[in-house]
Amino acid sequence: MLIKRTERQARRGTLAGALASQSGGTLDRRSFLRRSGLAVGALAVVGALPLGSVRKAQAGPPPAAGAAVTRVKAICTHCSVGCTVIAETQNGVWIGQEPGWDSPINRGSHCAKGASVRELAHGDRRLKYPMKLVNGQWQRISWDVAINEIGDKLAEIRGKSGPDSVYWLGSAKFSNEGAYLNRKFAAYWGTNNVDHQARICHSTTVAGVANTWGYGAMTNSYNDIRNSKTMIIMGGNPAEAHPVSLQHLLEGKELNKANWISIDPRMTRTAAHATEYVRIRPGTDIPVIWGMLWHVFKNGWEDKEFIKQRVYGMDDALKEIEKWTPEEVERVSGVPGEQLKRVAKMFATEKPATLIWCMGATQHTVGTANVRAFCTALLATGNVGTFGGGANIFRGHCNVQGATDLGLDIGTLPLYYGIAEGAWRHWSRVWETDYSWMQARFASKQFMETPGIPSTRWFDAAMLPKDQVTQSDNLKAMMVMGHGGNTIARMPEAAKGMEKIELLVVVDTVPTTWAALSERKNGTYLLPCGTQFESRGSRTASNRSLQWYEPVVKPIFEAKDDYEIMYLLAKKLGFAEQMFKNIKVENNLPVAEDILREINRGGFSTGYCGQSPERLKKHMANQKDFDLVSLRAKDGPAKGDYYGLPWPCWGTPELNHPGTHTLYNTSLHVMDGGGTFRARFGVQRVVKQTVMENGVEVEKEVTHNLLAEGSYSVGSEIQDGYPEFTYAVLQKLGWDKDLTAAELATIQRIGGNNPGTVSWAIDLSGGIQRVAMAHGCIHYGNGKARANAFGLPDAIPVHREPIYTPRMDLVSKYPTLPNRREFRLPNVGFDIQKANVENKIGEKFPIILTSGRLVEYEGGGEETRANKWLAELQQDSFIEINPADASARNIKDGAWVWVDGPVGAKAKVKALVTERVGRGVAWMPFHFAGWFQGVDQRDKYPKGADPYVLGESVNTLTTYGYDPVTGMQEPKATLCQIRAA
């Protein structure tokens, strides 16, 4: 059961041994139970401590007689589905989990990770107290010493190298409140070098989708897929990554007799339940989608009415699509024309159809373009803005959607306001902080308004010559809160980068790869934080629903709440008073409800304004009232609301907007969660075009209308396209009279001498939104979605070969973008691709290496590999290799192999010989770390806090390549060679 998939090898010895040494004896079941798990091991590790200072994670079921059992409703902390967890506690100890039947999202269900979350709050292998690396040895320190030393060092670096030399790497595991605080913290520190896991998971989705129709998120929901008649899952394996979502997909498939098409290089666990499986070469998503649309347009299956009314630039896209004949698609991607025709027909004619994608699509140098092509396919077939249709983007971590929304990002403040002056002024107003004070925190106004360095390239910013990094100095410090070190490509270089920086601070529940990967000897701190089961707040699931959760237990051992840690650091750095001006702090712990209220007060752009803590708590208490498919409450105190008030939930909480279950849905009134495509890209566009006039070709300036034509949401008083609302627009329509005196006063205060320019997004009264919606209009305007996303590097998606491609013959026709500078750094992908072709790298490393998820582990896997119930199920890092490739290399199933990467790195893993991958393709899970190029690094973790399972990370082998729009890495398509070890 080591590589679970085969059940063929058993290497139980070493691991059972490791386990036994921790639990202080052999693994006899009865004594094991008597000691209630491995808690004794954990205690042995902290044995020297005075017991009073350590909250023991001891005891388990059954409930002891006499003491009351308390039930707490929490939310699973793993993936973005957002399953409700019912925890039973007694005397402050988590003793059991029960199914949360009332949740419309999971209806009691869990996957392996959700069914084992209780272990997280017992935490045998948790980081138990603050630690510091002194000459290569971990030493326990107190919180006071840690905060003081870290704060002093940060101040020193700030003085010497400027605020941009400190990188604030946050987390998709934060609550919304935590993510918001973290972004706010970076602002008060004075840098845009702040990021989180969305960079490496769906940054390209957010960029691609938002640039198409307005907002960067899943348009529908997991539940709504029950309405779909055709589902295409492309570059995603939700059966392992989002298992509970399969409940909705499988039941939908059964009830609707729906088509289920999996398009993937691997025949995944998801593909096993598909009605059709399409195998593609990694990195050829655009050819496959254009190939589909080629059939759609050739056969007239497109939705002409939809395109005419609601889409801009489909003609321009068509010019690119026409190049992708079935022959060319097969030559590039390997997909036969007939199969693609069948799929295209189902997608275009058996509607509603939804397109579901994950990281197989996003993690490429063409990630944004891939997403744009997907959107174009949905637009061409009229599958957006309907029940059962839409872009169902399955986000990764439990709050990656929320952390993205709250601007834990190098290029925007919370809720997509951006970082231009207007955005800073908006948030300064919300924060009641003087704008000029804020500006003085930065190196300059220019750096305040320049995007920071993406997390994928932090080590380049530490190691490149100073003159190649466009900021006052190289990176000198990494402040990592809840982010793995093994999820970023090019790990050997990350290890060197870690050795180069002066300060490394890791705030996490476990030590993570950051603690073990490099040869650092000093200047490293590990600070234990609690899991979200030890905190309270809200998190946004993939479907944009916000769910409020309460702490199951207090932070265990010496862990502290995220909010408290940020407060302590802000206090030490001298800006706590400013930063927490409107947030109550009790005993160093900022109050989560107050943080959400502040988000509400400033969150008008994205509709985070209506979800007050009171409303969210009401939903959690009345989950049973919400319908499984429509997510709407049929009854009870939240009657009429959609579950979790999925954003956008417009206006102030008092307006009682129900939230938006399906985006851009014109069949509903805006006050019922309806909407249109956002008029975000102007009202018109002037283009030079060659037109025929009196039989002569002349070049003329033609004006294109970017607003919807003849399409509007139900009940709209303006029955055509319209621009975004400002106070001036309200005045023009004569609707300004509907504003209350208080609303008008706020608008005038914000607008100063020019109140007409105050838009719906910066009107802190919510009045413009309220009045527009009262007239059935949506304040963000009624525009067309863009098939031509002018302004992006590839306005129409163009196929570009991966930097490391085995198809060197295709590079001249489909090269990557030219070298350029972006995000303060050079991008030399073009040179590397060119050199790869010249050096025939594809012959020396002929196997494509791609990566993905296992159900048992999450992200970098640090936390889940430290959970004994999960770790037991996957004990070795492995590589899937096709039988033909294996036999050509004399590799046996289950044997150790060396995987050699094209830039000199190597990894030792077990071979899993399987037809799951096609010939010439190998696949590795990305959750492992702790072995580095064949070396076991277990000794480098603090004693007793090493994960049970260690293994080689696939990112030791992944290579250079970055998306031009977001800096996304390219771990889904690189090259390798494999040999028997």
Binding site: R5, E7, L19, L33, P62, P99, H110, A112
Partner: protein, 198 residues
């Protein structure tokens, strides 16, 4: 009286292993013992299917028939349980079981494997219901609290069903009729000497 059974709908099982960790969590089952596991056939090929497996609590259980110490007994709900005080760890039941359910804490020959452990249908053992002694040996007794086995209750896709045999057979039958396919109630013929007509 209810006749408790398990049923795994292989057309729904996605091998997410929730049943496995739910069991580990509920009963604090140690590393190396798997009361429940998921087996996948045609792995990585078209037709790949997974099935969650544990003790099926058979009618006329073969484990009980071969036990030299009569450690097994069947409850009024038709759940097959055993006494760890009587078990001598001989391993006969492991050879008799068509589902590979019995597990042993140690590897070894006759008598040295330790007390046998297996799925209790979340119904504990011969000790008093929900006592510490019962928990230490057999885990939580959910049935005594009016709850069904946690593995089925937490199944991600409602593939694994637990409950009265007639009721879960009815649920499965309706599913098969609605969707038009079903590979059959896996293991029912062996365990319960019956199949579900669809």
């Amino acid at each position: 009286m209810a006749r408790m059974k398990f049923l795994c709908d292989a057309d729904r099982c996605i091998e997410c292993n929730a049943c496995v960790t739910a069991c580990k969590n509920e009963h604090e089952v140690p590393w190396g013992i798997n009361r429940r596991r998921v087996v996948t056939i045609n792995d990585g090929k078209p037709g790949e299917r997974s099935i969650s497996m544990a003790c099926m609590h058979c009618t006329d259980a073969p484990c009980a028939a071969v036990c030299p110490t009569n450690a097994f007994y069947t409850t009024a709900d038709a759940v097959v349980l055993h006494s760890k005080d009587i078990c001598i760890g001989c391993g006969y039941c492991f050879y008799a079981c068509p589902f590979g359910a019995p597990q042993y804490p140690k590897v070894g020959n006759f008598g040295s494997r330790g007390k046998m452990d297996k799925c209790t249908y979340c119904a504990g053992g011969p000790e008093g219901d929900s006592t510490k002694a019962e928990f230490d040996k057999y885990g939580t007794n959910r049935l005594a609290q009016g709850k069904l086995p946690l593995c089925a209750e937490m199944c991600s896709t409602k593939s694994l069903l637990a409950g009265d045999g007639d009721i879960i057979a009815q649920i499965y039958k309706e599913r098969v009729v609605k969707r038009g396919y079903g590979s059959g109630a896996w293991g029912w013929k062996t365990a319960y000497k019956e199949t579900i007509a669809s």
